[in-house]
Amino acid sequence: MTPLALQKPRKPTMNLLKTRELGILLALALLVLYTTINNPRFLSGQSIRDNLLNTAILAVMATGQAIVVITRNIDLSVGSVLGISAWTAATMMSDHQGLPMIVAILVGLAVGAVAGLLNGVLVRYGKVPALVVTLGTLYIYRGITYQWAGGSQVNADKLPAHFLNFANDSLLGIPWLVLIALLVVGGATLVMRNYRVGRELYAMGSSPQAAELAGIKVARNLLGAFVLSGALAGLAGVLFAARFGTVDASAGTGYELNVVAAVVVGGVAVFGGSGTVWGAGLGALLLTVISSALAVLDINQFWQQAIVGALIILAICADRLVAVRIARSLRKRDAHV
C-alpha cells in the first residue's frame, strides 16, 4: 500500500514539500498565528517554554510508538509503562536522595525495556496481534503498579531537589526535557531514514511476508521496536515524575491514546510502512499547542476532544488520499515504460 517507503529519498527539499509533515507544520503555523493575534502573550518566552516542556514527554513516547506503528503493530501499554517507571523512579529517588539523575533515567529506561521486551516476545512468538497483547499488558503493568503502590503517593517534598529541578533546568537556554525529546526524535528519525535497520522496519510494515522472504531479520527487528517503545515510555515516566513531582499508581492512565493520536496526526499510517518519526514528534507538538491554545482562547474544553478527533480523521483521510495518488502515479509511470 505504501511504495513510497521503498523509494530512495530524493532531493530533501522536494521531499519536504510533498510530505504530510508539511500539512502539520502549516496547521501549527496557522494555529499559533491565530492564537497570537488574539493574545500576543501566546508567543512570549514563558509560553513557548511551557509548550515545549509539555510536548517533551509526549514526543518521547510518540517516537517509540511511531516506530512500532511503522512495523504495522501498535503498543497500547505505553501509558502503563510510564506509570510503573514513574513510580519506580519516584520511590527510588525518595528512598535514596543522593542518587544522581542519570541513575533514575537508566532505571526508567531499563524498566521500560523489560516491559517492551515482554510485549515483543508475546507478539512475535505468541503470534498474537499486537493490539491484543498490548491491551493485555496495559492492564497487567497497571495492575502491578497498583499492587506495589497501593494507595500511597510520592509527593514533591519527598523527592530530592536535583530530581525536581531537572524538569526546569536548562543547558544553553534549552530545558533538559526539550533537549532529550529533540535528541530522541532526531536520532530515531535519522536511523529510520538513513540506516539499514530503519529501512527494514519500513519494509516489514509495508509487507510482512515479503520482508521475511527477503531475508530481513523480522524477529530481531520487531523485538527491537517494542523494546525501544517500552524503553522510551520508561524514560517518559522518569521525566513525568520530575516534571509533576506527584506520582501515584494512576500516573499516565490514558496516555496511550494521546500517544497514538500524536502518531496518527503526525502522518504515520496505521497500517504501517509509511510516515516519519519527526512527523510523530510534530503531531505531539500540534496536539499540545492545540490544548494550550484552546485554554488561552477561552474555548469550551468540550470542543477540545472533538477537535483532536477531527484531526485524527483528517490525518487518516489525507493518508488515504496520498496512497491513492501514489498508486495512480505509479500506474502511469508503468504505462510509459
Binding site: 493574545n39 502573550r41 501566546f42 512570549s44 514563558q46 509560553s47 511551557d50 509539555n54 495492575g143 497498583y146 503502590a149 497501593g150 494507595g151 500511597s152 503517593q153 509527593n155 514533591a156 517534598d157 525536581l164 524538569a167 526546569n168 509533576f244 513531582g245 506527584t246 501515584d248 499508581a249 500516573a251 499540545t288 490544548s291 494550550s292 484552546l294 485554554a295 488561552v296 477561552d298 474544553q301 468540550f302
Partner: protein, 357 residues
C-alpha cells in the same frame, strides 16, 4: 485477573445469599418502611455505654485511593480506641454496582456497623436495607447513599462552609487592593466542585468582596498535565491575575508546581483545597501561603464513633441526638441524619508539619 475471578465468585455467592435472605426477609419489610429499619422500635438512650468488641467494617469507594486510605486510617484508629474489630474491604473500581457484592459479604459476616462511601446513592440501597434488617447499622461518609437506606451520614463539611472558606482565602491572598482571581476546578460536571464554586460566587457578590473579580473558571479534569496547561492558559489570558483558587487536590498541586517553576512565582498566589503532604513542598518554597481541607482521617474517625453510638443504642440517627466522638468532642445529629465534621482546617507554613496525610 485473579481479583476479577474472586469478585465473580463472591458476587455469585452473594446472589445466592440474597435470594435466600430475600425469601426470609419479606416479613420485615413493614418495619423498614418507617425509615429507621429494624431499630426504630428502640428509642435512643443517651446514657448507654459504648459497647466494646463491635465489628466495624469500612467500605470506601475504591481501594488504593490515597485519599480514602487516609479516611479509613482514621477509622482504624477510632475502632482501636473503641476496642472493636476493624475491617476494610472494597472494589478496585469506583463503578456504581461494584460495592454490592461486598455489602452482601459483610452481611454474612454479621458485622455490627458498615461504614460506606457510596459510589452510587441508589445502587447500594437494596443491599444496605438488607443489612439494616439484619440489625447492622449503616454510616455513610464521603458521599452519601440515599437517605432511606442509611442511619447517619458523616458530612466532611457543608457546601456553604467550603465555598465561604474558598472566598475568604482568596480575599486574604489577593491583598488589600484585591484584583482578578480565577478558579481551576476538576471536571466541568463535578458535583462537589460546582456547588462549592456556586457558593463562592454568591459570597463574592457580597460588598466585602467587591474588590475581587472572578474572571474565569477553568477545568483541569483532575489530570496533572491538563491542569498544568489550564494554569498556563490562565496566566496568559489574565497576566494581572492575583489568585488561582483550585478546589481540587490535583488542580492545586499542578497549579502550585507550575507557578513555582515559572516566572509568575511570587506574583500570583495559589490556594484552595489540597492535601498537606502533596502541598508541603510548595508551602515551604513560598508559592502557596495558605490552603484548606477537612481532615480526612477525622471523617473516618467520626464515622467509627457514630457507628458505635448507633450500635450501642446511644443514638438512633434522629435529629437532635447527641454523642461524643473521642478526641473530636461532642456532636449533634442534624436534619436528615447528617453529622457535620466541622469547618475545614487551614494549612500554613506554621502548622503544615503537624499533618501527615
Amino acid at each position: 485477573m485473579l481479583r476479577h475471578r474472586l469478585a465473580v465468585t463472591i458476587s455469585a455467592a452473594s446472589i445466592l445469599t440474597l435470594a435466600v435472605a430475600g425469601c426470609g426477609g419479606t416479613t420485615k419489610k413493614n418495619s423498614s418502611d418507617t425509615g429507621g429499619g429494624a431499630q426504630t422500635a428502640a428509642s435512643a438512650n443517651p446514657n448507654a455505654q459504648l459497647k466494646t468488641g463491635l465489628k466495624i467494617a469500612y467500605l470506601p469507594k475504591q481501594l488504593n485511593n490515597p485519599y480514602s486510605d487516609v479516611e479509613t486510617s482514621g477509622g482504624e484508629a477510632a475502632v482501636k480506641e473503641l476496642q472493636g474489630e476493624y475491617k476494610k474491604v472494597g472494589p478496585n473500581d469506583a463503578s456504581a454496582s461494584s460495592q454490592v457484592s461486598y455489602i452482601n459479604t459483610l452481611i454474612q459476616q454479621q458485622q455490627d456497623v458498615i461504614v460506606i462511601a457510596a459510589n452510587d446513592p441508589n445502587a447500594v440501597c437494596p443491599s444496605l436495607n438488607q443489612a439494616r434488617s439484619a440489625k447492622i447499622k449503616i454510616v455513610t461518609f464521603d458521599s452519601d447513599a440515599s437517605k432511606a437506606c442509611r442511619d447517619i451520614f458523616i458530612n466532611q463539611a457543608t457546601t456553604e462552609g467550603i465555598g465561604e472558606s474558598l472566598a475568604k482565602m482568596a480575599l486574604e491572598q489577593a491583598g488589600a487592593d484585591g484584583g482578578q482571581i480565577a478558579v481551576l476546578s476538576a471536571t466541568p460536571n463535578a458535583t462537589n466542585q460546582n456547588s462549592w464554586i456556586a457558593v463562592m460566587k454568591t459570597e463574592l457578590a457580597k460588598p466585602e468582596y467587591s474588590k475581587l473579580k472572578l474572571v474565569k473558571v477553568a477545568y483541569g479534569n483532575d489530570d496533572d498535565q491538563k491542569s498544568f496547561q489550564e494554569a498556563q492558559g490562565l496566566m496568559q489570558s489574565y497576566p494581572n491575575l492575583k489568585v488561582i483558587v483550585a478546589p481540587t487536590t490535583v488542580g492545586i498541586a499542578a497549579a502550585a508546581r507550575y507557578i513555582g517553576s515559572s516566572s509568575y512565582k511570587g506574583k500570583v498566589a495559589v490556594t484552595g483545597l489540597g492535601l498537606p503532604n502533596q502541598m508541603r513542598q510548595y508551602v515551604k518554597d513560598g508559592t502557596v501561603k495558605k490552603f484548606a481541607l477537612w481532615n480526612p482521617a477525622d471523617i473516618g474517625y467520626l464515622a467509627a464513633y457514630a457507628g458505635a453510638a448507633l450500635a450501642s443504642g446511644q443514638i438512633t440517627g434522629a435529629q437532635g441526638d447527641k454523642f461524643t466522638a473521642g478526641k473530636l468532642g461532642a456532636y449533634t445529629v442534624g436534619a436528615n441524619g447528617e453529622v457535620v465534621l466541622g469547618p475545614p482546617t487551614e494549612f500554613t507554613a506554621d502548622n503544615i508539619d503537624k499533618f501527615n496525610f
